[in-house]
């Protein structure tokens, strides 16, 4: 076919689109709705998954963890007795290979504050190594992160608010008068405390936005002096009995500690019923009797970027190669994906249901195009006969109809892409606020996002959804055209 012929055929197809304008508009609208919704849903799913994954790696697990095999098998029960020693040697080996590592001893227990009690997961960490490897450490809402060697503890913001620890963000008037203003010992301090808060119309107060760090520290110290930050950890130490294989000994333990910071990071798991305290302060009989034992070592490459998910050097295989024979057989190294089953289940479910919905919608709009083309071709049987009688080949006729259908798809796709992008802009910038749900479920709903679920741009999918929609609609013209072409020319000329 010559180029000019193709151009003529394309022009003919375009003009044919205008023959039933309403019909064309309705069909393109259907395509546009499907494409726009697909772009919106895909962008949203991508946005929350990208952010969740980054937040898991940056705030929760690092790129990989070393644990004993026995611990991993029961990891949901936090079996502290399945611990191991020799973390120092492993860390040294990892540092030499260009990896950061952070040892942890994880245990559960109950935290008693002056005002209440709550079950908690306690992470005994090395504050220096933890700060280098994970990113929640700078997200201290008030106070600071615990220092090595001290009985200090940092708690998640949700539990701090409920246990009445830290600086209350929105106290009620009565609570403010008794607990916060009551901490002031003289007039000057009382004036300072008052200046820290503004009164709201609903009988509560809120912390002034412009308060500086020094003022926060001062208020923290005032409140700490009242005993507000003094807490007690009640737990049972489980250890393997050296004399009786398989038996576990239990030792009841109470540990006094001072809350020095409240954590509010973008990953809800760090803000719920979780506390962090220095591992070196828990080694002896007055702590958790660790004697150098840890339950896990977190690993990330020293030069890892927060915005990039673990890959290349950070894959479990590469880390294992770097460790070589240093890893004892009872220990195993697993990537971050093995530790976040709840997120992957929630994400997979949303992914599948949303996509099924959109695909159903796509099917509907393609039946629409098929119907439109079927009618268009049927209606023009006589014309088709005429064109063929005048010397147009079958492939040229087919091309004309395919272009016509493709144009419906293309116009619909372009409009759909435009609308989809327009919806995406506010979704990327602002997102939808799910903080109420996050609070209701104590941050435990699979996704690792605290409040705003935002979309992300996915240019490849945006373009591809348009291309696929165009190709599919072009293809929908083929069956009815082939059928029309089977008719002898003389018959189609006589067709009524």
């Amino acid at each position: 076919m010559k180029d000019s012929t193709v151009r003529d055929i394309a022009l003919m197809a375009l003009r044919n689109l205008g023959r039933h304008r309403v019909k064309t508009i309705i069909t393109t609208t259907a395509v546009a709705i499907s494409v726009a919704l697909y772009i919106f849903i895909d962008g949203w799913l991508l946005g929350m998954n990208l952010e969740s994954r980054r937040n898991i790696v940056s705030y929760e697990t690092g790129a990989a963890k070393i644990q004993t095999n026995a611990y991993f098998a029961k990891k949901d029960e936090l079996p502290m007795y399945e611990s191991f020693t020799g973390a120092e040697e492993l860390s040294a080996k990892l540092t030499a290979a260009g990896y950061d590592s952070a040892p942890r001893f994880v245990f559960s227990g109950t935290l008693y504050s002056r005002e209440g009690t709550a079950p908690m997961v306690f992470n005994a960490v090395d504050p220096v190594k933890e700060a280098k490897l994970l990113r929640y450490v700078p997200y201290i809402e008030a106070g600071r992160f615990p220092e090595p060697g001290k009985r200090e503890i940092a708690v998640g913001t949700l539990s701090a608010a409920k246990l009445r620890i830290g600086i209350p963000e929105r106290p009620e008037k009565a609570e403010f008068d008794s607990e916060i203003l009551g901490a002031a010992t003289n007039e000057e301090e009382a004036a300072f405390v008052r200046s820290f808060y503004t009164e709201n119309t609903d009988g509560t107060l809120s912390v002034k936005k412009d308060g500086n760090a020094a003022d926060r520290d001062r208020l923290w110290k005032l409140l700490a002096a009242t005993g507000r930050m003094t807490v007690r950890i009640s737990t049972v130490i489980d250890m393997k009995d050296a004399d009786k294989p398989g038996a576990i000994r239990h030792v009841n333990q109470l540990i006094d500690a001072t809350v020095v910071g409240v954590i509010n990071s973008p990953n809800p798991k760090t803000n719920a019923n979780v506390a962090y305290l220095p591992i070196d302060a828990l080694q002896d009989e007055s702590g958790m009797m660790l004697g150098g034992k840890v339950t896990e070592i977190l690993i990330r490459a020293s030069d890892a970027k927060d915005s990039v998910l673990p890959q290349g050097k950070e894959t479990p295989e590469r880390i294992l190669t770097a460790l070589g024979s240093a890893l004892p057989t009872e220990l195993a190294l697993r990537g971050w994906k093995d530790y976040t089953g709840d997120y992957f289940a929630a994400s997979a479910q949303d992914n599948v249901t949303s996509r099924i919905m959109i695909i159903m919608l796509f099917i509907l709009s393609f039946i629409g195009i098929a119907n439109t083309m079927l009618m268009a071709i049927l209606e023009r049987t006589k014309e088709t006969g005429m064109l063929r009688a005048l010397g147009m080949t079958d492939s040229q006729v087919l091309l004309a109809y395919v272009i016509e259908a493709g144009c419906i798809g293309a116009i619909g796709s372009i409009i759909g892409i435009l609308i989809g992008c327009l919806i995406n802009i506010p979704m990327v910038v602002y997102g939808i606020d799910y903080s109420a749900m996050s609070k209701e479920m104590s941050g435990d709903y699979g996704y690792r996002i605290v409040a705003y679920f935002r979309s992300a741009w996915n240019p490849l999918v945006i373009i591809l959804s348009g291309v696929v929609a165009t190709i599919l609609s072009a293809a929908s013209a083929i069956p009815p055209t082939l059928r029309a072409l089977k008719m002898p020319v003389t018959d189609s000329l006589r067709f009524e």
């Binding site: 309705i26 029960e77 239990h250 089953g341 509907l364 039946i367 629409g368 439109t372 009618m375 479920m441």
Partner: protein, 424 residues
């Protein structure tokens, strides 16, 4: 003037013409019917799924979280996540007296006292659990604890007796701790006077409610025993009121509010965060269903437009032979309605069958949550809900939306001049 008889005869004649017309192009009809069927099927199946989920959540909320109406002290409500026992209902008024008064109210079936508090476990790898103090005998008259098998939920042994130092524990908890019936379960809890209280009940039963939070965390103890241990006097921490019918809860809530007075927090099950949220999302799904139905109706709209264009000569003929504009419009409108009815019927059949088959197979929620979301009040096994109401609703919705969409293009036929049309 036409008589009524003629009018009726006219209508059925129009419908007959419309019905015959849909078979003039089989493929087109097939496509339209398929599109409507897909939309209706989707709507019915999605709704069956959603309602199954909502029913599951509402039932858990009514059984475990709030009853039909829930009464707690304002202080308890503020710190409810940690189940404080320092704030008894109505300032520690005699619970039995309160219950008797509430049970005298109209529509109230029963008022049940309950206490929940945290327990720290000793000699165990599991560190904490929830103590659930309930009047077992009375509870079982009102509530069905196992939501899947619809029975009392007892797997082994029996429930603890009144006043005895006995307990029943959840099946997952029993497995994790490696305990069985006859074992002791030493624990510590904090009383209303902020003092530590030690308790060493004997396990007499293992229950399985198929509600993960309870199977994993809860120790059931007799209400009166826990009341004594926690030094609550004659008071109770919470009251769960059950009505003859869940829909009476709003009225009962008002009555109880007046009865217990200030300083207490009365809520009905509809106030629960999850129930309220799902009610909101129902609206969202309604919009999604609407979009589906409208996109499917686009096909019928197009068909009607094409049909009018194609049969323009016939319209002229019909007009010339004395059919009014209203009658001509009706013919095209009925044709579209037939298409949507056939589509909706097929969609209902397929959607109804799919949701009926789905309703026979329990779905394990673990698969969807991967072990997370323990704070969501939902039974571990959910069923897709099959109900004729959903199928009928899907049919009516499908036909109504499609009919409304096709009315406008059908009207187009009314603007055609018979004389002009005949000449085309």
């Amino acid at each position: 003037m036409k008589t009524n008889e003629q009018k009726n005869g006219g209508l059925s004649a129009l419908m007959t013409i419309a019905y015959r017309n849909i078979w003039r192009n089989g493929r087109r009809t097939a496509l339209c019917v398929t599109a409507i069927a897909i939309a209706v099927f989707f709507n019915i199946f999605m709704q069956a799924w959603m309602e199954g989920m909502i029913d599951g959540i509402e039932e858990v909320v009514r059984t475990y979280e709030t009853g039909h109406v829930n009464i707690v002290a304002a202080g308890f409500e503020r710190d409810k996540e940690y189940f404080p026992v320092q704030y008894p209902v109505a300032d520690g008024r005699n619970a039995q007296e309160l219950i008797d008064n509430i049970e005298k109210l109209p529509h109230v079936r029963a008022a049940l006292p309950r206490i929940t508090s945290y327990a720290t476990l000793f000699d165990s790898t599991v560190k904490h659990a929830l103590l659930w103090g309930i009047d077992v005998e009375k509870e079982l008259k009102v509530n069905i604890f196992n939501l899947t098998d619809r029975d009392d939920g007892l797997k082994d042994g029996r429930y603890p007796k009144k006043g005895e130092a006995e307990c029943a524990i959840g099946s997952i908890l029993a497995r994790k701790m490696g305990l069985k019936i006859g074992d002791k379960l030493p624990l510590k809890t904090v009383s209303a006077q902020f003092s530590d209280k030690y308790f060493n009940p004997t396990i007499v039963g293992v229950f399985e409610f198929d509600y993960r939070k309870y199977d994993e965390d809860v120790i059931i103890v007799p209400f009166d025993k826990l009341q004594k241990i926690l030094v609550l006097g004659q008071g109770t921490q919470q009251l769960f009121v059950y009505a003859d019918n869940a829909s009476w809860s709003a009225a009962i809530k008002t009555d109880i509010g007046a009865l217990v007075g200030k300083g207490n927090f009365v809520r009905e099950w509809r106030d629960n965060y999850w129930v309220a949220m799902l009610q909101q999302s129902t609206f969202l799904y309604f919009i999604i269903f609407g979009v589906f139905q409208v996109v499917a109706s686009f096909l019928i709209i197009n068909t009607v437009l094409m049909v009018i264009h194609e049969r323009i000569k016939e319209i002229g003929m019909m007009g010339a032979l004395g059919m009014t504009r209203r009658e001509i419009v009706s013919v095209f409108f009925f044709e579209a309605v037939y298409l949507s009815i056939f589509g909706a019927l097929i969609g209902c059949a397929v959607g109804g069958a799919a949701s009926y088959i789905g309703s026979l197979f329990p779905l394990d929620l673990e698969f969807f949550t991967g072990g997370g979301m323990k704070d969501m009040p939902i039974s571990s096994t959910i069923f897709i809900k099959f109900s004729p109401g959903i199928v009928a609703g899907g049919f009516v919705f499908g036909v109504a939306v499609s009919a409304a969409c096709t009315l406008i293009p059908s009207l187009k036929s009314a603007f055609i001049e018979p004389v002009e049309a005949l000449r085309r």
